[in-house]
Symmetry: C2
Subunit: 319 residues, 2 copies
């Protein structure tokens, strides 16, 4: 909402005006205002407060909201469900079936619902976009939309900021628990950090990249996965001191029968550019048939970085 | 031509069929065949040989070729003219005025003719595209086309492969002259390597990025420029040994009055990711208002990498 506000004038010059007609979260439930909420209030402590905002009480789910306000776009940002991609898939499907564009920052629906949602979007003449699902707002999926007639052979990367920060902080002297707390205080790790530390977040990202960019539908459960919880702090420090630091490395490689992919801690030599990806940065190196080495690196991401990915999707969809 | 051939079936599935109706070079002059040359012959030793190919003798310039064959696309790949961007600008203008798309791998017309050629293309409903002008086929310009409502604040990069290879080889024991010869043998440096070693190639690339991505028309002569010829081989080696290697660093920074840009050799700490860009690789780190750090790195580029940039432009233009 803050980024939409900040870019309001610029969006207007692109022919895009907007109002926010509904918001929903586990805590708030559905708050709907057909005339459009005041965005300043939405960023405050009591976004749906009865005093500040008109609230249309009768709306209780995404279908009712879509119909009631005749919505054009849904921004979906529920948290990751590794096993099924729900409820994100249902929300996105509802938007597309109604005829609204569906934009998500959630990688769950990309790995569990890509083909269905892509085909549904196409049949409705709408867009299903998810740039922020991998590497925040860094343009991974849109980059490959700009690379026609190219074949992705393999990629290697560091795709989970939380574990990368934890490893960096452990190298610098923190314990595992202290570095997890630091990641939580920065808003990177959730209260239960196990999706990150057990490698699930990275694994779902790999599955999303393989599914979309390599065209091979892949579930997280099909990817060889190991997290960083077995690493001892003294081993992490010794590895760095010996110039072979640990990184949680994501890999995928096209094979004759499909794609082989894995996520796991590896010691990398300092000559490997991935060894220099520190803290909250992330990076992915692509090998393609016509561009032998192309890498995207994102450093210093923040909340606005993820928001920008969704904003870019929005502009691509409606612009 | 080889890449067009290799991708013929795939282009056909994109609805794109093609034939090559004319080629021209300083050595060959104009060779035109309205029915289309045999691409296999074009890659041989005698592309316009009278025996193998019908040659239409009356065509002597780009205007005659455009009219004679009713061309749809011009691929322009003359060598760099730092001072004026000619004759590339005239060739590209001729194509656009006729109503053909204009694609170039030459950065000269981007810095000396961008506004004119862009506006001309727009007025004709055609495209002026130049992805291969900077970092070969790595998608720099197309990346920013996919990043709407973004403001580029600054960038830093290593954009000239020849000098980067020369510095790497000097660190490894070659003399300056030996490393220049190696760059020439790899097809990187021209017979007269001074455009590279004096920093002109990198400077024109910086001017192209500033002009197109920052929207500030900039000529190479306005950019502070120093090449690598003043560096002594023993200094280059000592700098590397002390962990502060020399790199030919390109920079641009938006200021209150415009953009400040420079190209020159600098010693970088090993903690700087640019210090790890070795040999023929290149890299650019962008700082934008919404993505604080976004980098593109290209490694192991070759002739096909540059060709791919032009192919991607072609598909964007006609697809």
């Amino acid at each position: 909402v803050q980024l939409l506000q900040k870019k309001r004038a610029e969006l207007h010059t692109l022919g895009i005006d907007w109002r926010i007609t509904g918001i929903a979260s586990r805590r708030l439930g559905w708050c709907v205002n057909t005339g459009g909420f005041d965005p300043e209030n939405l960023c405050g402590a009591d976004p749906c407060g009865a005093g500040a905002l008109a609230r249309e009480k009768s709306i209780n789910d995404v279908h009712q909201w879509l119909r009631s306000v005749q919505a054009n776009v849904l921004f979906e940002a529920t948290s990751l469900n590794v096993a099924s991609g729900q409820p994100a898939i249902d929300n996105l499907r509802a938007a597309l079936e109604f005829g609204a564009h569906a934009i998500t920052a959630n990688k769950g629906p990309v790995v569990h619902g890509y083909q269905e949602l892509r085909d549904l979007a196409q049949s409705k003449g709408k867009r299903f976009l998810f740039e922020s699902a991998v590497m925040d707002g860094a343009p991974i999926f849109s980059l490959f939309r700009e690379l026609p007639a190219i074949h992705l052979k393999s990629f290697r990367g560091i795709l989970n900021s939380t574990t990368n920060l934890i490893l960096t902080e452990m190298e610098r002297g923190m314990t595992f628990d202290e570095s997890v707390e630091k990641a939580q205080s920065l808003g990177l790790a959730e209260t239960d950090p196990s999706n990150d530390t057990e490698g699930w977040d990275a694994t779902v990202k790999v599955a999303a990249l393989v599914t979309v960019l390599m065209g091979v539908p892949t579930k997280p459960q099909q990817i060889q996965r190991e997290g960083i919880t077995r690493l001892k702090v003294e081993d992490v420090r010794a590895a760095r001191q010996h110039g072979q630091p640990y990184k949680l490395v994501c890999r995928a490689q096209r094979t004759s029968s499909g794609v082989e992919a894995s996520v796991g801690p590896q010691q990398l030599p300092l000559s490997d550019p991935l060894s220099a990806v520190a803290g909250t940065s992330s990076a992915v190196y692509f090998e393609t048939d016509v561009l032998p080495g192309l890498a995207i690196i994102e450093s210093n991401p923040g909340v606005e970085t993820t928001a920008y990915g969704m904003l870019a999707d929005f502009i691509h969809a409606v612009g």
